[in-house]
C-alpha cells in the first residue's frame, strides 16, 4: 500500500467513527426528546406542518405520531383562534423575533381544552433561511385552574365583604337617621308642651287654684325631664355602637396591657409609676381599656416636659359603694376655670403647638364611663399636675 492509500484509509476510518459518534449522539438526543413525557416537543416545517412528535406531545394532545405528522399545527387551536389567524401569526412572530413564548387554550384530539405554555423557536439554515420551528409545550391547566380558582375566590370574598359593608352602612345610616329624627322631631313637642304650659300659667296667673298650678308644674317638669332623657339617649347612641359585653374586669391586668400598648410613647423617658391594687369592676374590658389608654396617654403627654414624671394610679370607695379610680400626674395641669370644657368633644385646653391632640380622647372616656353608669371628673392646678377620676360598679361576684 502506498503512503497515500494509507492516509486515505485512515481518513475514511476517522470519518466512519465520527459519523457513528454523531449517529449515536443523535439517537441519544432523539430518545431523550421522545421520552420526555411532561413536555410536548414537536417540529414544524416552515409552513407549519408537523414533522416530528414526541411522547410528551402524544400525552398532552392525545395524537399518535403517525396520525399527526404531516398535519398542520393549527389543529391544536380552537376554531375562533384559527378564524382570527392566530396559528399563522404565531409562526410569523417567531420567525421575526427568533422565538416567542405564549400561553393560551389549546384543543386536544378528543376536543377537550387545556391551558398551554408554549415556546416556539425558529430554526434557520446556514444561509439564514427558515428551516422550520421547534415547539415546546407544557400543559399547565392545573396551575391555571388554581389561579382562576384563587381569583374567583378572592372576587367572591371581596363581593361578600362589600355586601356586608353595605349592610352595615345601611344599618348605621338607619341609626343616624333615627337619632336625627329623635333630635329634631321628639324635642319639638316637648318644647310646645312646656311653652304653652308657661303661657297658660302666665295668662291665668292668680286665678289658678293650687292644685291646677301643681298639675301645670308637673307637666312642665315631666316635659323637661323627657328633654334631658332625649339628650342623653342621643349622646349614648353616638358612643361606639358596639354592644357592651359586661364582665368582671381586673383593672390591674388591663392597666398592664394599656401600658404595654403605650410603651412606644414612653421611649427615652424617665417615668415613675405608683400603681396600687385596684378593685375588680363590672364592665366591658375592650371599652375600659380604651378609657385607661386615653387617661394614661394624657398623663404621659402632659408630663412630657418634666424630667421626673410621676404617674399614680389608685382607687378609693365612694359613698354609693362604687369604686373610684384615679389617674394622677405631676404634669402641666390645667386651669379649673375650664374644667367644664375638658370632657367636651373637640374641646382642647392647650394649643396644638404645646401638646398635640384632637380633643376626642376625654370625650370618649366620658362616653364610655357614662355607658357603664359611672362618672368622670378631674381636678388640677396649673403646673401642679392633674387628677382624673372615674367611678365604676365594683364587681361582687367570684372570679
Amino acid at each position: 500500500m502506498t503512503k497515500a492509500d494509507e492516509e486515505l484509509s485512515r481518513a475514511i476510518e476517522e470519518r466512519k467513527r465520527a459519523e457513528a459518534a454523531l449517529a449515536e449522539s443523535e439517537e441519544r438526543f432523539r430518545l431523550l426528546v421522545e421520552g420526555l413525557s411532561d413536555y410536548g416537543i414537536y417540529m414544524l416545517d416552515p409552513q407549519g406542518y408537523i414533522v416530528s412528535w414526541n411522547e410528551g406531545a402524544k400525552k398532552i394532545k392525545g395524537y399518535q405520531s403517525e396520525e399527526i405528522i404531516g398535519r398542520h399545527y393549527s389543529c391544536f387551536f380552537a376554531g375562533e383562534e384559527i378564524a382570527e389567524g392566530k396559528p399563522a401569526r404565531m409562526l410569523e412572530e417567531a420567525a421575526s423575533r427568533g422565538r416567542i413564548e405564549s400561553e393560551g387554550w389549546r384543543v386536544r384530539k378528543d376536543g377537550s381544552r387545556f391551558w398551554v405554555s408554549a415556546l416556539v423557536t425558529t430554526l434557520r439554515d446556514e444561509e439564514g433561511r427558515v428551516r422550520g420551528f421547534s415547539n415546546v409545550t407544557r400543559d399547565i391547566t392545573e396551575r391555571k385552574q388554581a389561579e382562576q380558582f384563587r381569583r374567583e375566590f378572592s372576587l367572591r370574598l371581596e363581593r361578600r365583604v362589600a355586601e356586608r359593608t353595605a349592610q352595615l352602612e345601611a344599618a348605621n345610616e338607619e341609626l343616624e337617621a333615627f337619632s336625627y329624627t329623635v333630635s329634631h322631631d321628639l324635642r319639638a313637642p316637648l318644647r310646645h308642651i312646656d311653652g304653652f304650659v308657661q303661657l297658660l300659667k302666665k295668662r291665668e296667673g292668680e286665678k289658678l287654684d293650687p292644685t291646677s298650678a301643681r298639675y301645670l308644674r308637673i307637666i312642665s317638669e315631666a316635659a323637661n325631664k323627657m328633654g334631658i332623657l332625649i339628650d342623653e339617649l342621643l349622646a349614648l347612641s353616638r358612643t361606639s355602637r358596639t354592644d357592651m359585653q359586661v364582665h368582671r374586669v381586673e383593672l390591674n391586668k388591663l392597666l398592664d396591657e394599656a401600658r404595654r400598648e403605650l410603651a412606644p410613647t414612653m421611649a427615652n423617658r424617665k417615668i415613675r409609676w405608683d400603681i396600687s391594687n385596684l378593685p375588680p369592676v363590672e364592665g366591658d374590658s375592650t371599652l375600659l381599656k380604651v378609657v385607661l389608654i386615653n387617661l394614661l396617654s394624657n398623663a404621659l403627654k402632659y408630663t412630657s416636659p418634666l424630667r421626673n414624671a410621676l404617674i399614680e394610679i389608685g382607687s378609693k370607695p365612694d359613698e354609693d359603694g362604687k369604686a373610684v379610680i384615679f389617674v394622677k400626674d405631676n404634669g402641666v395641669g390645667f386651669n379649673m376655670k375650664y374644667v367644664d370644657k375638658l370632657f367636651g368633644v373637640f374641646q382642647r385646653l392647650h394649643r396644638d403647638e404645646e401638646f398635640e391632640g384632637t380633643g376626642i380622647g376625654l370625650a370618649t372616656v366620658r362616653r364610655i364611663i357614662h355607658r357603664h353608669g359611672g362618672q368622670v371628673w378631674a381636678e388640677s392646678e396649673i403646673n401642679r399636675g392633674a387628677t382624673f377620676y372615674f367611678s365604676l360598679t365594683q364587681s361582687q361576684g367570684a372570679k
Binding site: 337619632s179 336625627y180 333630635s183 329634631h184 322631631d185 324635642r187 319639638a188 316637648l190 318644647r191 310646645h192 312646656d194 311653652g195 304653652f196 304650659v197 308657661q198 303661657l199 312642665s220 316635659a223 323637661n224 323627657m226 328633654g227 334631658i228 339628650d231 342621643l234 368633644v345
Partner: protein
C-alpha cells in the same frame, strides 16, 4: 323712622306662636314677619309673588328653622349666602337639632349664629331675648345693606 324687621321662617304654628310670645315679653313681636318655609321666605326676600309690594327694608335678622317643607333651612341659608346682597343679612339658625352635622354644615354655609331651642320655655324666652335685643336693637347692620323703601 324706619322699622327694623325680624323675619321668622318657621313651618310649625306652635313654634311660631311660642316665638312670638317670647319676643312679646321683650316688646319685639310687632316687628316680626312670618313666613312658613324656605320658598316663601325667598319670595319675601326677593319681593316676588305675594311679597311684590313689600315696602319695608330688608330684615335686620332672619330667624331660620332647619326642617321645613319645600325648602329647608340649610338650602335657604345656602341661597342667601350665595346672593351678593342678601348675604349681608345676619341669619340665625333657631332649631331643635343639636346634631353635629347640622351645626357644622350651618357654619360652613356661613350662618351667623346657631341656637338650639331649649325645651324649657323660660330658657327659650331668655334665648329669644338675647337674640332679639342683639340683632334687632344692638347690632348695627352693614352700612352698604340695601335700603329699598
Amino acid at each position: 323712622m324706619e322699622t327694623k324687621r325680624i323675619l321668622l321662617v318657621e313651618d310649625n304654628l306652635n313654634d311660631v306662636e311660642l316665638t312670638l310670645a317670647a319676643l312679646e315679653e321683650h316688646r319685639l313681636s310687632n316687628r316680626v314677619d312670618i313666613v312658613r318655609d324656605g320658598v316663601e321666605a325667598m319670595d319675601y326676600l326677593y319681593r316676588r309673588g305675594a311679597y311684590t309690594d313689600r315696602a319695608d327694608s330688608d330684615p335686620v335678622v332672619i330667624l331660620l328653622d332647619l326642617k321645613m317643607p319645600r325648602m329647608d333651612g340649610l338650602e335657604m341659608l345656602r341661597r342667601i349666602k350665595k346672593d351678593q346682597e342678601l348675604k349681608q343679612i345676619p341669619v340665625v339658625m333657631l332649631t331643635s337639632s343639636r346634631e353635629e352635622q347640622d351645626v357644622v354644615e350651618s357654619y360652613e354655609l356661613g350662618v351667623n349664629s346657631y341656637v338650639v331651642k331649649p325645651v324649657a320655655f323660660n330658657d327659650f324666652v331668655d334665648v329669644v331675648k338675647h337674640l332679639g335685643l342683639f340683632w334687632a336693637l344692638i347690632n348695627e347692620p352693614p352700612p352698604d345693606a340695601p335700603q329699598k323703601i
